[in-house]
């Protein structure tokens, strides 16, 4: 310590009030302090690229030609900006619902292996039905149209839609229940199991015959290749047809070929007979219904209500129950909207870009040969606009262990509208417009399938998800979260394609790495 510093330290010590206020924390007090983090939110926010020019380059196509993307316009503004034309201000989070960046473990990140702590970035999270993306996204899918637009002011429209879907599912269930009421579902199952034994035997027979046909075809091919161009007066026939001399041909090669064609025909006949027998096995009737019908009904019932465990089964799991659960959320959102509830406003985000890429003209000459022409640079315009975008309840957990940097992410994105265009001057009638867009994307699960990011020795980036193994497959399929995408309505070039949904996607294995082009 320099004398100067020592003097100041002494002077500070002499301040009696300060020294008294400092207290040592005991172990218990320290134990109560958890890894507090940082909360943040933004208000009155907008960003506009303005007059700046921005360009992404260095991307190459597979031939090593450079591709550039020029951003002509980019903005992030509050909802209602009319695609960036107005400087509407955005509110991202509030003091009690901020973005957070902190170290978590235990209940805040339940999937983490015990003893592990992760750095977590989490977007504002609400539990009320309108701002909880999961519930609102579900409602918006059934609603189909964009709430608030003309012709879309009744929030109960979603309720009608899910009721109709549920009604359809219940009608299918009731038909099957009525069909086998007197039989009982366990009896139905044992009947199917017994009849399936014959099906399985005959399936094996079909497999054997298929293999025989392939063998005979191979023999026929070999012998055809060895067969002479002429056998006496008889010219070599087309493949699969016989020399006219039958079994009296002069050369042994021609006779052998003819006999292989006969064998092939015999095998084909046997295969046809086996397939017919298999078809008959599927048609075996019990309780007045064919095996095919019974098996289909049983599978459908299992999907709707879960696998039956009694002669008169209950319907407490399966798709009907799931739809009922969803209906609860849909009704809750609809009721809240009817009572005048509003959502926090989202963001309007947009990018307009020009892609410049090399383009080669090909033409065909008089002989039908394709000729490579001159390579020129082509410019393609591309625009993407999001209206009313929210990212509520999304998180990213990052931690490190002996295998490297690990992570798990859950993206909960909702947007009122997504507009993708390929034309600079046109209206939405010439663009792809998706309304009520909900992305529930889950990548990685901390214990069973952590997302791994690493850089290889050569400087290549690698992103991987380990595959499911035999040891963990049960837990894997129960616990690794699935991803869902739903669109209330997709409109392409002015044509409504209706609602689109992808449910239950899960990545079993992923290994993504960059490569330096050209290789």
């Amino acid at each position: 310590m320099t004398r100067h510093a020592r003097c100041i330290a002494l002077a500070l010590l002499a301040l009696p009030g300060l020294a008294a206020a400092m207290e040592a924390l005991d172990d218990q007090a320290l134990g109560e302090i958890s890894g507090a983090g940082v909360g943040f939110f933004l208000d009155n926010f907008y960003y506009d690229q303005g007059s700046a020019s921005a360009q992404v380059s260095g991307i190459k196509d597979s031939q090593g030609n450079a591709l550039t993307i020029d951003f002509e316009r980019a903005y992030i503004k509050g909802e209602g900006s009319q695609r960036g034309a107005l400087d509407s201000e955005a509110q991202l989070g509030t003091p009690l619902h901020p973005f957070t960046l902190k170290v978590v473990s235990g209940a805040a990140a339940p999937t983490l292996p015990s003893g592990t702590q992760a750095l977590q970035l989490k977007t504002p999270t609400w539990s009320d039905p309108l701002n909880d993306t999961h519930q609102y996204g579900l409602w918006s899918y059934y609603q189909g149209c964009l709430y608030g637009e003309s012709g879309c002011t009744a929030p109960a429209q979603a309720q009608t839609a899910i009721d109709s879907e549920l009604g359809g599912l219940e009608a299918s269930r009731d038909t099957i229940l009525a069909r086998y009421q007197s039989v009982g579902f366990l009896t139905l199952k044992s009947g199917i199991d017994q009849d399936m034994q014959l099906v399985n035997q005959r399936r094996a027979q079909v497999a054997t015959e298929t293999s025989d046909v392939q063998g005979a075809y191979g023999t026929m091919e070999t012998r055809y290749a060895a067969a002479p161009a002429w056998d006496g007066f008889y010219r070599k026939p087309a493949f699969g047809e016989k020399y006219g001399c039958g079994s009296l041909c002069l050369t042994s090669a021609a006779r052998a070929y003819n006999s292989s064609v006969n064998s092939y025909q015999t095998q084909l006949d046997e295969l046809a007979a086996a397939q017919k027998a298999l078809g008959e096995a599927w048609s075996v009737e019990r309780h007045g219904y064919s095996l095919n019908q019974r098996a289909t009904d049983f599978d459908e019932f299992s999907a709707l209500c879960g696998a039956p465990t009694a002669e008169s089964p209950t319907c407490v799991v399966g798709r009907i129950q799931k739809t009922k659960d969803n209906r609860t959320s849909v009704v809750l959102v609809a009721t809240t909207l009817q009572n005048g509830g509003t959502r926090f406003k989202g963001l309007d985000i947009g990018v307009e870009a020009t892609f410049s890429l090399p383009s080669t003209a090909y033409s065909m000459d008089g002989n039908g040969t394709i000729i490579k022409g001159a390579t020129t640079t082509r410019s393609d315009f591309f625009s993407i606009n999001l209206e009313g975008f929210t990212l509520n309840g999304a998180y990213l957990n990052l931690w490190g262990d002996s295998t490297g940097l690990q992570g798990e992410a859950s993206l909960q994105m909702y947007a009122d509208k997504l507009i993708i265009g390929g034309c600079r001057v046109c209206t939405d009638a010439n663009r792809a417009v998706a309304k009520n867009l909900y992305f529930d994307i889950n990548l990685g699960q901390a214990s069973l399938q952590p997302l791994n990011l690493s850089v290889l020795a050569g400087g290549e980036l690698r992103l991987s998800l380990p595959s499911v193994t035999w040891d963990n497959h049960q837990a894997f399929y129960q616990q690794v979260p699935k991803s869902n995408i739903s669109i209330g309505n997709l409109n392409l070039g002015g044509v409504d394609l209706g609602s689109q949904v992808v449910r239950g996607m899960r990545v079993d294995y992923l290994d993504l790495r960059t490569v330096n082009l050209p290789r």
Partner: protein
């Protein structure tokens, strides 16, 4: 030994200063919110180093991050150009109202960063993966992913509030 005399002088003045400086009680401290903040204007220039011939005209700044147990590095390479802004404000405020009732319930201080328009002059960076933190040298390997360039004025508005999250 000027510092020694300065220190001694401080020691002597403390006694009289204490008479004027009264320690504030905890409840009094809580009532004080940030009065005036800082306003920052800056122009940051990242110049290329012509000695590094790997990049045309010399390479700019390089930031390398090595993910845990990785052999290689993620790099932001060749960071060049000028980034400037005027009037970025910085202060501490008490949030006790607004935000649909969230403000009153929050009733605490937060650090406020007032965003402002910014200007870029030939700013650029390259995102890449590399086998080495330092640039160049024998056996140096790098896979460039993309290069981003920006030039001109961007418009930005808003307040970023930062606080300790429970």
């Amino acid at each position: 030994m000027r510092s020694k005399y300065l220190g001694l002088a401080l020691l002597f003045t403390v006694g009289s200063a204490l008479a004027e400086l009264r320690p504030l009680a905890e409840d009094e401290l809580q009532e004080i919110s940030g009065q005036a903040g800082l306003s920052i204007s800056a122009s940051l220039n990242f110049a290329a180093n012509p000695a590094q011939t790997r990049c045309p005209g010399g390479c700019g700044m390089r930031v390398a991050i090595q993910p845990a147990n990785s052999a290689g590095f993620i790099v932001l390479d060749n960071i060049q150009g000028t980034f400037s802004f005027e009037g970025l404000s910085f202060d501490i405020v008490t949030i006790d109202s607004g935000y649909d009732g969230d403000g009153a319930a929050f009733n605490a201080s937060a650090m406020r960063l007032g965003l402002t328009d910014a200007s870029f002059s030939n700013a650029r960076f390259t995102l890449a993966g590399s086998n080495s933190a330092a640039s160049g040298g024998a056996g140096f390997q790098q896979t460039d992913l993309l290069t981003y360039r920006v030039n001109g004025d961007v418009r930005m508005n808003g307040n970023l509030y930062l606080f300790a999250a429970p």
